[in-house]
Subunit: 201 residues, 2 copies
């Protein structure tokens, strides 16, 4: 037996989302059936709006509203124009902004170099970083803030080598113990990095 | 800092779904941004369709397409018209239908009597069961298939008492060990029910 067509189609749509299997999709579809009509319509509209109204900043590659391009951060002349933090995606920008401690600019790769996934330097937002650096002589430091895993490290190394001839300082976010963490729960690589990067007190 | 308006609204919509917190909602919203446009439009349409095109069967209360009412099961004269299985929701109907072993009719309560949640007999699809039984003398047995928890048991007892004067046989789905389960992992109440309901070999 099959669910009525409209429910079956909605279950199918929910199943396309990551981490949502058929059981959860069914539960969500029935929950949707019981939701306020206004909320469901708002949900449907926001789905379409996200495809129609979101663009990528022409300078840094971060997400922005279609009518605000370059993005708010690139437009903000009060920010430190000499530093660019390179991150993998827009959520990383949000995480960094929420600290309120970084006041430079960003460059969002929207991906990472991953030989295992077949993603090369040309498949991510890296050529635009080179163009940006060569056309803008205010930038003096590029901080590489890719994730602390194999693909993130490989991307960081690639960027460092790429920018060496350009005489731009390239740095990497520090590795070490997470604040509040226990040493006996830290993995070996993190401990090694913490010793290597030790600071004088 | 806030995400651009369209993303923020979509995160908000995802957060309204059960079991989805802000972190997961953000991940889903960014995933949606990267989905094929056709899939997102289909998703949006199926959301609206589920509110517009799904109705409840006027006989049994099961979900059905708006243009198929009474539902397919109630319309099917080849099914055993003398037995009605009372369940809490449409997913229970689907689970039972998938066994292909039950050939009677259903009555879907779309809820359960729950004093703790303030849900009384009038708040679920129970009055229509009484009307259905009094206007249809083919029905000889009502099987109560509410869940095997406190609310489900209370609802089963209520239905049994309600139907006693009407001279209709009221039965309850068997409690006991799940097939394939280990006795040492079964909870105490299930074991007690399994002993009480033991069958001769």
């Amino acid at each position: 037996m099959q669910y009525p067509e409209p429910i079956a189609r909605l279950i199918d749509s929910y199943t396309k989302l990551p981490g949502i299997g058929p059981k959860t999709a069914t539960r969500l579809a029935f929950y949707t059936l019981g939701m306020e009509e206004a909320d469901v319509i708002a949900f449907a509209k926001s789905l379409q709006a996200v495809k129609a109204d979101i663009a990528f900043c022409e300078i840094c590659g971060n997400i922005t509203s279609k009518d605000v391009n370059p993005c708010m951060i690139c437009q903000d002349k009060s920010r430190d124009q000499s530093t660019v933090l390179v991150v993998q995606n827009s959520r990383d920008v949000m995480a960094m902004e929420n600290t309120r401690e970084y006041h430079g600019l960003y460059h969002v790769l929207n991906g990472v170099i991953s030989p295992s996934a077949g993603t090369g330097p040309e498949d991510i937002n890296l050529p635009s970083l080179i163009r940006r650096l060569s056309s803008n002589d205010q930038i003096q430091e590029v901080i590489v803030g890719t994730n602390a895993n194999a693909d993130g490290e490989a991307t960081a190394m690639y960027i460092a080598r790429l920018l060496k001839p350009a005489n731009i300082k390239v740095t990497r976010l520090a590795h070490g113990l997470a604040v509040g963490s226990d040493i006996d729960y830290a993995d070996q690589l993190t401990l090694i990095k913490a010793v290597e990067g030790r600071n004088e007190l």
